[in-house]
Amino acid sequence: MDALIGQLINLFAAVMLILAFAMLSQRRIVTLIHLFTFQGLTVVGATVVVAYVTQQHHLYYSAALTLALKVALIPFLLHRLIDRLNVRWDIETMLNIPTLMLIGIVLVVFAFNLALPISKLSASIARGTLGIALACVLLSFMMMITRAKAVPQVIGFLTMENALFFAATSATYGMPMVVELGIALDVLVGIFILGVFMFQIREQFDSLDIRHLEKLKEE
């Protein structure tokens, strides 16, 4: 039974990695939001399983918090945002997906190598998944770097937060409750501020392409 639960956590980790790659290569904004919701669900599942195995009750609370925030509230806000901005069916052009994928593989190898010595220090049941969590963080970093539109960048940022949360769960059975609550609130406030920002960007440049922000002076 214990072995099976360990494998279940590994499976959740693998699903996280698949979703990270799917988001990296996804051109449609609305599908990105769906994938983000799925990723939130995966994190919740993994957290509940870890909580059940280790009998750490505070992990149940953080799982519930994640469920409320990242599976329900933030996707709802994002859906409303893309409706308001009228970019629901937008697709990002100018993405060379095979190259992105190959760079992604290199990142995963790098993250796995990096995590190997760290996970040896940990005594957690899910220590093997630290490498995957780290890879997800790096992949969402890359997603933020390669995207030019504002909404996918925000989703990349949220994905990174998911991955960090997963890393914390797998390596040290989660952070203290105060820290977790603080981060959750930060993310929520961040979403609101970024939402306002997007409207400002669009008003200024008539587009959500953030490459316009690189120009600092008016000619």
């Binding site: 099976l4 494998q7 590994n10 980790a13 693998a14 990695l17 698949i18 992604g104 593989i105 490498g131």
Partner: protein, 315 residues
């Protein structure tokens, strides 16, 4: 060679030759039903094969001997690969001839011959189809090999029979790496068997066809052999997928009784697999040819990730 080994080997090849057109008919029937058509019936591929074998075979004036030989080579490769794959039993004397890596090579030989034959006549469509086929082949092959490597790493052998033996008869465990490999393998199978997201098997529209463009010049018994080989290829890929990822019900060594039980299990699994194939084909649109490298790069990525996950998690 032991008598049970001979029996199971003969039965495996016979089952492949008989069931492959049936599987094709089953998939086509479901495709027709999904499109609200009545469909040609399950036995249509047999009727087509019968008709083509009776008909006269016409060969272009400019054809070289290679053009005549290619159908036999392709058919031979596919029949041999069906003999190597453990469909009913893991006791296959022929499997010593080729392991999983050589099996990929066997598919490649068939692909090279059919492409050369398509270029041989010198028509524009033939060489166009051949180039597209080689493009898909060279992208799909590394992904397929990596899938086999993942399975070999888990079971510690590259022989297909020992892989299936060790995967089928051990206690239940979740392998995330195999899940990745399975996904990659299904992508590759769609591309290799000219199914819908990559190629439409029913099309004769010049600009989009790949597989049909290759065999445009063939007729009569040559065409029959190639069509039969295509059905065998679909059967072979389905059986590899079933054997690697759903290996239950395949008979062990020295167990002729289980063979009786293995046949209905195989037919049932193929029926479900064929239904799912038709379902996926019906709900997805054919992609542009320039999107295919992206599709297959994703398959390769998934296969590599599967292997990496195996190293990291040990499962």
């Amino acid at each position: 060679m032991s008598p049970t080994g001979f029996l199971s080997q003969a039965l495996a090849i016979l089952a492949a030759l008989v069931l492959a057109p049936l599987l094709m008919g089953w998939v086509n029937q479901w495709r027709a039903w999904f499109q609200n058509r009545r469909g040609p019936g399950l036995l249509q591929p047999y009727r087509t094969l019968n008709k083509l074998f009776v008909k006269e075979s016409v060969v272009a004036e400019t054809a070289s001997p290679l053009f005549r030989a290619a159908p036999y080579v392709v058919f031979g490769c596919m029949a041999l690969s069906c003999g190597i794959i453990p469909t009913l039993s893991t006791e296959l004397p022929l499997s010593l001839a080729a392991d999983a890596i050589a099996l990929v090579g066997l598919f490649a030989v068939a692909r090279v011959f059919i492409s050369l034959a398509a270029m041989d006549i010198g028509t524009a469509f033939g060489s166009l189809g051949a180039r597209r086929e080689m493009l898909i082949g060279f992208l799909a092959e590394p992904a397929l090999l990596t899938v086999f490597f993942t399975a070999s790493l888990i079971s510690g052998s590259t022989a297909l029979t020992s892989i299936v033996e060790s995967l089928a008869h051990r206690e239940f465990a979740i392998y995330p790496s195999l899940a990745f490999a399975g996904l990659a393998f299904s992508f590759v199978s769609f591309a290799e068997n000219a199914r819908v997201p990559v190629d439409n098997p029913a099309t004769h529209l010049e600009l989009t066809m790949i597989h049909e463009a290759l065999i445009l010049e063939y007729s009569g018994r040559h065409l029959a052999l190639i069509e039969w080989a295509a059905a065998l290829k679909l059967f072979a890929y389905s059986c590899i997928g079933l054997a690697l990822f759903f290996p239950w019900g395949i008979a062990k060594v020295q167990d002729p009784g289980a063979l009786l039980y293995a046949v209905p299990v195989l037919v049932g699994k193929l029926a479900i697999g064929g239904f799912l194939l038709a379902l996926i084909e019906s709900v997805s649109a054919k992609m542009r040819i320039f999107r295919v490298p992206e599709f297959l790069a994703t398959a390769f990525l998934l296969a590599v990730i599967g292997m990496l996950v195996h190293f990291l998690l040990g499962a």
